[in-house]
Amino acid sequence: MRTEVLTYMRGLALGTFNVSDEIPRNESAEPLYMKNPKTMYVDVAQFEDNPLINTLGGLSIHAKTTSLSVYFSVDAKNLPNNYDALVSSLLDARDLNTTEGFNDRSAEVSTSIEADMLVTEVTLSYTKLR
């Protein structure tokens, strides 16, 4: 799923933003998005498997959720003109892969201030049964 999200992001109207293939942290666990503002990083996929239906037999049906987080930072005092449009487009990535059988899709944006940078995290979640 990470590859699909990266491909989708490269197709957006990025303006002065860039998309990196790297994960968001270097070998010292430092966030690369703080070193490289306006460069978007996609973390490795996280998986969560929760039981949806348990039965009295050996069968149980699980909901497997794949989550991906996109990170980037911008100057907090001077937001790029296309910031809102870009975040909105990133939220639309929840609708990728419509033929994969995902029955639940969600996207969430959170921001924080670190130093004088606005850090944006977009979390995309895709759930299917297995």
């Binding site: 949806l52 239906i53 348990n54 039965t55 009295l56 037999g57 050996g58 069968l59 149980s60 049906i61 029955n103 639940d104 049964l129």
Partner: protein, 158 residues
């Protein structure tokens, strides 16, 4: 104490329900997979009367209305039939077929065991499959259905 606690997935310990068409003349039985819950209803009716010499009502238990209710996750072969078993059998008809055909079925509900043996109690009897209502939703896109076995007569416990 010897609590009955069926262990899901453990042969001889898990709760199981087998159905057989009464008139099929074979030993074919259909094991119902993926039961979510089972309820054995054995509620006696009550006849109530009053007497002039008593300050409380008199009551006596009369006949009971028996049924077994459960919810299952639909399995293609067991719900619609496996398509290969002998004609007239439960395995060929499946749950939906037996309900449609109004077949009288023999049921055998094994409650599960309280150890790793096969010494648990079995409730059996005869009845009809009623109350099918398969449903699916976007939140849980798995077909599930309630099933009621309307019991004709008494339970047998062995």
């Amino acid at each position: 104490m010897a609590y009955i606690y069926p262990a899901p997935g453990v042969s001889g310990v898990q709760a199981t329900l087998a159905l057989e068409i009464l008139a099929d003349g074979t030993n074919d039985s259909l094991n119902i997979p993926a039961m979510q819950d089972v309820t054995v209803n054995a509620a006696n009716d009550v006849f109530t009367w009053t007497q002039l010499d008593a300050t409380a009502k008199q009551q006596i238990a009369t006949t009971s209305t028996n049924s077994i209710a459960m919810n299952i996750v639909l399995d293609g072969d067991s719900f619609f039939g496996d398509g290969v078993s002998a004609a007239g059998t439960a395995s060929l008809a499946g749950i939906f077929g037996m309900s449609n055909n109004k077949n009288k079925v023999e049921f055998s509900l094994y409650l599960g065991d309280n150890d790793d043996g096969t010494n648990g109690k079995t409730i059996s009897g005869q009845g009809y499959i009623t109350g099918l209502a398969p449903t699916v939703s976007a939140d849980a896109p798995v077909w599930v259905s309630p099933i009621t076995i309307t019991v004709d007569g008494e339970y047998t416990v062995a």
